[in-house]
Amino acid sequence: MTAPVISGFGLTDVGKIYGRNATSFAAEAILLAVQDAGLQLPDVDGLLVSAGKSLGVDLSLAESLGLSDLSLLAQVQSFGATAGVMVQQAAQAVMSGQASRVVCVFADAPLKEGVSSAKAYRRPAASGHFGHLMASGITNPTASYALAARRHMETYGTTVNHLGSVAVSQRAWAADNPVAQFRDELTLEDHRESRMVIEPLRLLDCCLVSNGGAAVVVTKADLAVDAPHPPAHLWGWGQGHPGYAWERGSEFGLVTGAVQSGRSAMRMAGITPADVSIRELYDCYTYTTIVTLEDYGFCEKGEGGPLAASGALAPGGSLPTNTGGGQLSSFYLWGMTPLIEALVQARGAGGARQVEDNDVILVSGNGGILQYHSTLVLSPHAKEPR
């Protein structure tokens, strides 16, 4: 049984948690994950580290935690795709025998008390070509996603209410997620009337900014048989990095790396989109959820907006999506947000928001301006030999 599994996970308090740095969040997340997997720190022989924008964690985390004689140690950076990429590297390490129990951790603390979320990621003034880019209007990632969203809206007829439907559906899931930062009911009107951040994206189209940490333990199925909780089996994974041309013919805004990444992951898992019971999609913006649903093949290209408006993504809908509220409503720890919720659902620990059919869970990670993509396919069941 060399098949890879995730045998434990840990999530610190997330949100406006002040007075702690990223290292403190990372250390706590690792301890929680190791304990959840029924292990002790010395059992860990691999560590993959991911820092967010505040760059507060690095390889020194291993020494800080007294992790010695590791056979795998690296800092991984694929931006929003990192969590999935780390799990994939960890899975390959345990399958090859290089390591037996690999912890993957992400932690970030961009929020400072008394400073607005909007300023948490503010770039300093710049000169030269980069200065010209900023003067041209590309002042932050939201500006680039606004361009992408507009292109999708104009090309396929995606509407403001389609975007709003994603926000409303995910908030309905968040209502039953005790760790979600926003749980009050949301309406399409609330979405439409929320402050314009960068047109066409409103405040309720944008993810949160959070302080916190999350970690998972990747190991082999036969090493997890005595773990306190049933593991999540890794059925398949993939990556897709489109390398947009930024010139004539570019598909920017219309098609993302989810096409390639999803195809690889589903082929490895031996499934089709119709087999997926739960989708945990990287949702930095409402638009991202829509374009990702299309690119994975859950609907035709251009039909992501109407799909969201149909209520299919919401509790009780036919395609449960972002069941913890996602980055829009629960918390923002890059790709750990969808991954942790996937693990909660795989374990059947979702409480009031638990989806009954949790057989196949698809997790996405999206980084940069739709430039980097990773996919995981998880299940509470071991993959049947093919």
Partner: protein
């Protein structure tokens, strides 16, 4: 004293941009009223000036090429007004006639005209200080 093309008035509501060593040719061209591109020495593929390498062949060496200044709008967005000193700012992605895309401020365009494929032409703007830089406006 920065060189600014004839007729470009510094606009304190536009962001000021300073040159650096790697962008000197670009801003020299802007001061002459030219939008500078790069043409790959190896394969002649044309790219935006800020791109360090040719995505068609991977080579870095290039020569300068003055763009025609014509293009079409790919997509657009807008920063809402934030007080008097920061009026609404419309920006977009323009596909140059030569092929490369350029992020650009969109100036003096009625917003209800904006759509993918709208014909655009280059113009030059400047913040209160610093260099003149390219922006785009409707071609007609």
């Amino acid at each position: 004293m920065n060189a600014i093309p004839d007729g470009v008035q510094p606009d304190p509501t536009m962001m000021s941009v300073e040159r650096n060593r790697s962008s000197a040719d670009f801003f020299d061209a802007a001061a002459r009223g030219e939008l500078l591109l790069k043409r790959c020495v190896n394969c002649a593929h044309v790219r935006a000036a800020r791109r360090p390498t040719c995505r068609a062949c991977g080579h870095s060496a290039s020569t300068g090429l003055a763009a025609s200044g014509r293009g079409t709008l790919v997509t657009w967005a807008a920063h809402p007004a934030r007080g008097e000193s920061s009026p609404r700012r419309v920006f977009g992605m323009v596909e140059l006639a030569e092929g490369p895309w350029m992020e650009s401020a969109l100036v003096d365009v009625a917003e209800d005209r904006l759509r993918g494929g709208l014909g655009m032409r280059v113009t030059f703007v400047s913040g209160a200080e610093g260099e003149a830089y390219p922006a785009f406006t409707a071609a007609d």
